[in-house]
């Protein structure tokens, strides 16, 4: 899926940004280092990017850079967990997750007063997948248990969440990358969710009301 690359020159043409901006964003780590793919071409070395990812990212930066400083933006795009922890009432009041999802989470994990960013991320993903109808309630339980037990090991990396089903039996797992994974024909991919995207969404959502 990452075979579709765009050259730096083409990127600047399409998005209208300048070299100065691109390098500034690279310095601030708004664009991750591993998106810069160096390949040889007739002029020597050229830099390419994963097309869809970089265009989406540049659009986001352009749209948000008036409201947030570059450092704040860098924080939004960083795969590292935010520092914040919130109380359950805040989660509901600030409309970050619905009370139904939160109740389900509490039912599984037990009652707690403060929710860390990782907890909130778990609830947020749970809500997102339940709402989209891709996840059943039982699978939701699986999701919470898996996330709570193993997410810490992926923290700071760009992990993915995968749900596969075979003959009505589902398996859910977290992996650093699901790019190279092949199953027998009976297996159906149900969900493949890059965690970084959800982290971004969540951080934006949590930032919204903080001003």
């Amino acid at each position: 899926m990452d075979d579709d690359l765009i050259s730096k020159k083409e990127l600047l043409e399409i998005t209208g940004i300048s070299y100065g901006q691109l390098y500034r964003w690279k310095r601030k780590i708004l664009i991750p280092e591993d998106w810069f793919i160096r390949k040889s071409s007739y002029t020597g070395q050229e830099t390419f990017f994963p097309r869809h990812k970089i265009i989406a990212r540049v659009d986001k930066i352009i749209n948000m850079k008036d409201d947030l400083s570059l450092d704040e933006l860098a924080d939004v795009f960083s795969p590292n967990a935010g520092e914040t922890s919130l109380r359950s009432t805040e989660l509901i009041e600030r409309n970050i997750v619905s009370s139904m999802t939160l109740d389900l989470y509490v039912e599984i994990q037990g009652k707690q007063d403060d929710f860390t960013f990782d907890n909130i991320l778990c609830i947020y993903i749970l809500e997102k997948l339940l709402k989209s109808g891709e996840l059943s309630r039982d699978e939701g339980v699986m999701l919470v248990r898996t996330m709570e037990e193993h997410y810490g090991k992926l923290a700071g990396k760009n992990g993915e969440l995968v749900l596969i089903r075979k003959m009505g039996v589902s398996t859910l797992f977290l992996t650093e990358s699901a790019d190279q994974m092949y199953f027998d024909t009976g297996v159906k991919w149900v969900i493949r969710l890059p965690l970084a995207t959800s982290i971004e969404e969540l951080k934006l959502k949590m930032n919204e009301r903080e001003e």
Binding site: K8, K9, E13, S18, Y19, G20, L22, Y23, R24, K26, R27, T43, G44, Q45
Partner: protein, 247 residues
Amino acid sequence: MKMSGFRSDSTQLKDLRITGNGSSGGGQYDKVKILGDSVIHGDVKCNLFKCTGTVSVEGFLESGNVGCQGNMKVLQGLQGQEVSIQGELDVIGDVSVQTLKVNGEIRVEGHLNAEKLKGQGSLNISGDCQGEEVIIRGSLDVANMLNGEVVEIKLYGPSRAREIGGGKITITKAMTIPFIGKYSPGAYGAMQADSIEGDEIHLENTKAAVVRGRNVYIGSGCEIGLVEYKNEYKQDQGAVVVQYNRI
């Protein structure tokens, strides 16, 4: 008693002073002052680190301000606010500082990240060199990428960077008053790079395969394979440019 590790309690921090030859296990201090020759076996965290003479930190150094007249060696990375070195700085690991001023030599086996970097002398970096303001008078060797909002290099010796990118990039040759024997070889140096990309580019004595920018000036002594520009392009008569295109 050997002191090592960081104390996390908020009691008043002590100072570490070494005069003459000495060593320490490292730790957390308010001020570290070294006069003479010393080795610190371990990580150091402090508000002020001052050395006159030679110091080797065999660990990670995290400090507010760092001042050194002489030689300083850090074996596992350096993080600080204002770092000012007169002499030599040698770091294995990444360097991440607000301001770095060097009169002399810097060698970094890793990445160098500084909000403001001002160097007179030579810079040798095995990874990337990044900063909002990178101002160098002397020679420069960056194995990967030199990335800065403002990059100003005055060439006093042979310099090299794989890629240079940023907002405003100015590379000029040193004044023609010969510094006899001071900077060798040659009276003034030259820059060599695979690619140079920026908004405003002004080059002299530079060899590069590709130069891309909005406004590009290629001055005397340059040898460029391909120039791509957006707005404006000027070329000195003493420059060799194989091909240039407006894009």
